[in-house]
Symmetry: C2
């Protein structure tokens, strides 16, 4: 009988050319949901519509006994209760968060994992204690290199049993807007978003924002745990070390116009001017422009950008008008940031499907 | 060029024997999420974890101008604002709601639609005005046969453009616990659950609980709209009229024990006694028993039922102990109600995959 982890928990793989979505991918999609794109109309994503990616199970933690430990290369180890954290000065930061694997299911070949289309995003107001406050209280020693954040969620990936754990360079951990967050949109974190405490690293893909946080350890070398060195690497070949996934690449999304077909989600509009709107973001540099195409990317024009009032880490609204004529069309949008990063037509394919960002395409039928 | 609804919006179909999940099914799964099974631990499903099935788009309604119209075979037509509805005496009812297509993706052949595995369920406390109060105020005439509930969500299904609309027999509409609900778990309805008002028909599958409700029309014949006579029918053959989908069949679900593999969601436990728990429900008759199998359904034993304190329409907790030994196992659970309805091994296959209820099976590897 099979009784070893590695006989059930297998290596990562790519789908065959003609391979439909597998039942395993579906099981992930049934629990880890995206944000319905019509929710792009909200500055802050309503509770329950923010995307969600949970590696293992949602832990059930008792806030009365839960504690955060801060240990390792610090002058004073700390053990903090939720009440003690809540008594410290707090900040609220608006953050557009995106899963590093957003868009994966559109890649060819398709990396087998959580099969996101384009909807793995959401924006929330996170409230908590600046991580820097806690690290300064503990007194990080000059020899510290990485901070290791450990969550209470436990599982197996590719044969490796683990608590979910991520390392972050001390310089990044001391960033102005990094939070130990206990509230989302003014209410205690929901269980699925990390109750009672999660890390929020604005501008980074979701894997950095460790949920159900229970310890922070300062270490004197680079962290070599699974989620930093095995998963979440940008690789073309299985064997290469690859580049770490970090800051969010530019992306624009469109609220699909008109009304949908239930089964295919294809859209219908009537002829005439159709107001289009959506959101766009980039963390690598501030958003510079959104471009819109009504002809599947053959020609592009500038969309109008909305106010830049959500702060550095929040998405920004855009709008455009399309003069619809009868027939089938493919609308497309793409974002450009101030450093010229944009959305390449190959989506920056890599084996994990990370940080890929194909332009958003929406097929629309204009009825006659 | 194609400019007709019916050329894009196609008839229902069954998957071929070897057909993987299609990209259309995935697009539905990415937005209509299930309840992660570990959330079975909660009596009331936390906000954002309750299952969600939205036929078209989430409408954006202004509560200040929104009105409910009550018309047709009534003595006095009514137009009610949200404030007027909130001023009427309210009730709160705890309801386990399940999608009629729950379990569909496990059927062979698989009906192509929202590809639920087993997680399309949730329990909420719904607060609102008894529908009967409003119908009695309007004065339903003796000639009224069906009440037709129309939502603000608009789309196309199988070539038919429509607002989501369901008919309910007047006798059912006058049931004790049927609500016009404006709160879910003590807070205003979230947009995705029907804000500002939805119908709640306790004990019925989700399709009856019309969201974003804007009108109730009493009619003097049976309603023949799409969602009652074309969709949501139990048919073996495409041509038959079929039976209407209505009351929820028995089902038991298990909190998958131990810890998961990320990709396959398969479970791992260690040898020894493993406490198992879950929930079970039936609306056709009160729940009578839950049966548990550790050997893929070859042998069954009775689980212990928890207190029956959630009311007639809420699920009930069950528990059992499994003495795990090394190897691969398939656990299974099934519910039986007081009328002897249970979960047949063929899942009551039908072309739409409605009201199917295969026993819940969970593969578990016990490590040595």
């Amino acid at each position: 009988m099979t009784t070893q982890l590695s006989e059930v928990s297998r290596p990562a793989r790519l789908a065959a050319d003609d391979e439909g979505i597998t039942i395993d991918e579906l099981a992930l999609a049934a629990r880890n949901h995206g944000m319905p794109l019509e929710a792009l109309r909200h500055d802050v994503t309503p509770q329950g519509l923010h995307y969600l990616l949970i590696h293992y199970d949602i832990p059930h933690l008792d806030p009365a006994t839960w504690q955060l430990k801060v240990a390792g290369a610090v002058e004073t180890e700390l053990t903090l209760s939720l009440a003690e954290l809540r008594a410290l000065p707090s900040r609220t930061v608006r953050v557009t968060m995106e899963c590093a694997g957003n868009g994966r299911a559109h890649l060819r070949p398709r990396p087998i994992s959580q099969p996101w289309l384009v909807e793995a995003v959401g924006t929330a107001d996170w409230t908590g204690v600046p991580l820097r406050t806690v690290l300064e209280t503990a007194g990080v020693t000059s020899s510290a290199v990485d901070a290791v954040f450990t969550g209470a969620d436990h599982g197996v990936e590719r044969g490796v049993e683990q608590d979910y754990q991520r390392g972050l360079a001390v310089t990044d951990a001391l960033g102005d807007d990094v939070l130990l967050a206990y509230e989302m949109n003014g209410a205690p974190l929901p269980p699925q978003h990390g109750y009672p405490l999660r890390l929020v690293v604005p501008g980074w893909y979701g894997m950095a924002h460790v949920k159900w946080l229970r310890s922070i350890e300062l270490i004197e070398e680079l962290f070599t745990g699974f989620q930093n060195t095995v998963a979440y690497r940008i690789r073309q070949d299985r064997e290469e070390q690859g580049e770490a996934v970090s800051w969010i690449a530019p992306r624009a999304l469109l609220v699909p116009p008109g009304f949908p077909d239930f089964q295919t989600r294809e859209r219908f509009v009537h002829p005439g001017p159709v107001g289009l709107t959506g959101r766009a973001w980039s963390s690598r540099a501030p958003l510079a422009a959104v471009e819109f195409s009504h002809d599947d990317g053959r020609t592009w024009s500038r969309a109008r950008l909305g106010p830049d009032d959500g702060g550095r880490w929040a998405w920004r609204r855009w709008s455009a008008v399309w003069d619809a004529v009868p027939g089938r069309h493919t609308l497309a949008v793409r974002a450009v940031d101030a450093e010229g990063n944009t959305q390449p037509d190959d989506g920056s394919w890599n084996r994990g499907g990370f940080a890929n960002n194909l332009p958003h395409r929406v097929p629309v039928t204009c009825l006659s």
